[in-house]
Symmetry: C2
Subunit: 253 residues, 2 copies
Amino acid sequence: MTQSNSNPRLFVEAGLAQGMELNLAPSQAHYLSHVMRLAMGDGVCLFNGRDGEWSGVIETPGKKKCSVTVEDQVRAQVDEPGPWLAFAPLKKACTDFIVEKATELGASRLSPVFTRNTNSARVNIERMRANAIEASEQCRRLTIPEITGRVTLEELTNGWPKDRRLFVLDESGAGQPIAGALGALRSGSNGLSQDCGFLTGPEGGFGADELDALGKLDFVIGLDLGPRILRAETAALTAMACWQAVIGSDRRP
Amino acid sequence: MTQSNSNPRLFVEAGLAQGMELNLAPSQAHYLSHVMRLAMGDGVCLFNGRDGEWSGVIETPGKKKCSVTVEDQVRAQVDEPGPWLAFAPLKKACTDFIVEKATELGASRLSPVFTRNTNSARVNIERMRANAIEASEQCRRLTIPEITGRVTLEELTNGWPKDRRLFVLDESGAGQPIAGALGALRSGSNGLSQDCGFLTGPEGGFGADELDALGKLDFVIGLDLGPRILRAETAALTAMACWQAVIGSDRRP
């Protein structure tokens, strides 16, 4: 472990290059000064999703304004081609949970999808993005998952790339066991890339006609998650955890 | 789906047999009368972890007292031999989360384990048990996971059955990939039974000497959960989700 692993990690929008000076956002200044109680000369880590990870040193700590000098690149940028996760928004704590855990487990895109039985009429995209950034900072990702705007189920499938498998978590029990389906995707035996996505429904499940329509799409495979009835957020995270174990475990930053 | 699948499911302590009349606990009476607004003649499902699942009919609904007549057995009792999960308690919401999700994903025993870096000095065993019961009711389990008292790491390993694999979630990256390790357990190639358990550490991780001591035990295998740093509760859920997918997915009640 290098020293930088224990320093606070911050996502920034700006480009990163040796010697440049950055003014952090007020919320980051507050976090470093008041929560972490860092002082001039203390180290931080910086990443922006494009230029890898850099060490930095605090120049002027302050409550509202904090500047950092960028020092050395400590990790080169790599692609993080994780799965896409489309999910029917749940109540706030459960949506927060899905965003945080899916980010930790490697999702590269998160899309709130409105299905017939979706209870939440609204979803806070800015809150989703803030939670994804915080989780990315903590879990040492080099990218932030893309948060798309809200879509309907039809918009999601109409816009879905035909060469990307879409695994639908089907609580009816009619789907394939997840371990086998992901193993086949990994081995490439079906001629597809390993790119994939997952779709999880609302508390009330998908409508029968929604499942019928999904089942007619060539890129859709229904997945079965086992003998018990899982809560919607548990199902989403189970899919992500299995993806991480079967396909995503090869890459260590 | 039989009609009983949409009726409220309740865990009871009493034995269950056709024609008997049961007085429910006050909290259950409140739930049926005030939350679910059920009336005389409405149906419920009952299970006790020993006698399978039974349909029942409400005889006298009431705020504090509610009696039910047991009608027919709708599912026979089966063993639910899921893994044991031993985890360092986290702050309350995260411990609640682990208990709920591990129950949904099939854990048969939950043990709060105190390691050197465990922050929580206390753990509420009764709260853990209540959360495990509620999750069991919702996910259609026929058993409630056993909640053991708190143990130290040494007590846990001293009392661990030598023929039960203990997978330690090792954030150092030195462990085996989880998919392969669980696949080997499933195939029985190592001569062990499929019985296993998982151990997850606190936010600060295991101490180096704790990992050393664990590594000397024949029944311990360290597991690696992938390239990102997972929160402690995410690691616990990931292990349970992978167990469910690789070993536990064969059985459907």
